[in-house]
Symmetry: C2
Subunit: 133 residues, 2 copies
DNA sequence: TAATATTTGCAACATTGTTGCAATAAATAT
DNA sequence: ATATTTATTGCAACAATGTTGCAAATATTA
């Protein structure tokens, strides 16, 4: 599955492969500081640029939660380069602090008179599967 | 209504009153750069500290959208110091770029098997009342 | 394997946010 | 009203985060 970089039409370099592998090793979203720790050879500038291009190409997406470091997670198939339409929500566990992308069967819709809603982004807080015992 | 600062048990200083007045003059959420421009005498450090304490005391709340500067808006009555529970969504207009807090009659709920959801935060993108003609 | 295009990493810089501390201003008690 | 206590302000200095130009190195294409 290293083909992903090629399919997104960006050069396949050792650094990019390593970053991609790190994201694939996590089921939850992770911040740059975690990627940094896992990299054999860490270069701040290259990492910023890698993250930037991964987001542009729809390989990963950013999850921002007020007052916290940004987190990043692998995009699933439904992500396109143009618009990141997710049928998932971002779930932050208040116990283990991890952030997950969780697929939702019935994605809610909202009606606002006089407004035209094109996209919804939902963040939930609570207890994840593991912590909700 | 300058009583707000007193009711939140923080000192009522000219700087804080001015910042509060700026937020009250907007119906939409604004970033620090806008507050800065509107202040007669701008001090970066004092502004950071003012914003921080306003958030802690439930006077304003932060709205973060991926890849954008944070925005801030006045809290309404239902905001408590402990937890910011909003029955409103954050709406970003793709035309005028403004961010609004919009009250919703029927706030959606989501069911995730095995998870326990405590709070939902919803961000919508689309056209606001003015731009949706 | 050579030519071209892209990426990497350094130096240098820009922006954003934080902390200790003395001077100042606000709140409280007298 | 004024003195005392408490909290805030603003400076200097720093820490963290993010960006850009450019030459060397690497990947892709011909």
């Amino acid at each position: 599955m290293t083909e992903l970089l090629k399919s997104k039409k960006i050069s396949e370099t050792p650094f990019r492969k390593e970053v991609l592998a790190i994201f694939r090793n996590y089921t939850n979203a992770i911040p740059l500081s975690t990627v940094e720790k896992e990299l054999k050879e860490y270069n701040r500038i290259t990492l910023y640029r890698t993250i930037k291009i991964f987001i542009e190409k729809g390989i990963i997406h950013e999850i921002t939660i007020s007052g916290e470091e940004s987190n990043y997670a692998i995009c699933h198939e439904e992500c396109s380069t143009a618009a990141h339409h997710h049928q998932h929500i971002h779930f932050k566990c208040s116990s283990c602090k991890k952030i997950f992308c969780v697929e939702v069967d019935q994605f809610p819709s909202i009606i606002l008179p006089n407004y035209k809603i094109k996209q919804l982004e939902i963040q939930a807080t609570g207890l994840c599967q593991k912590c909700n015992v």
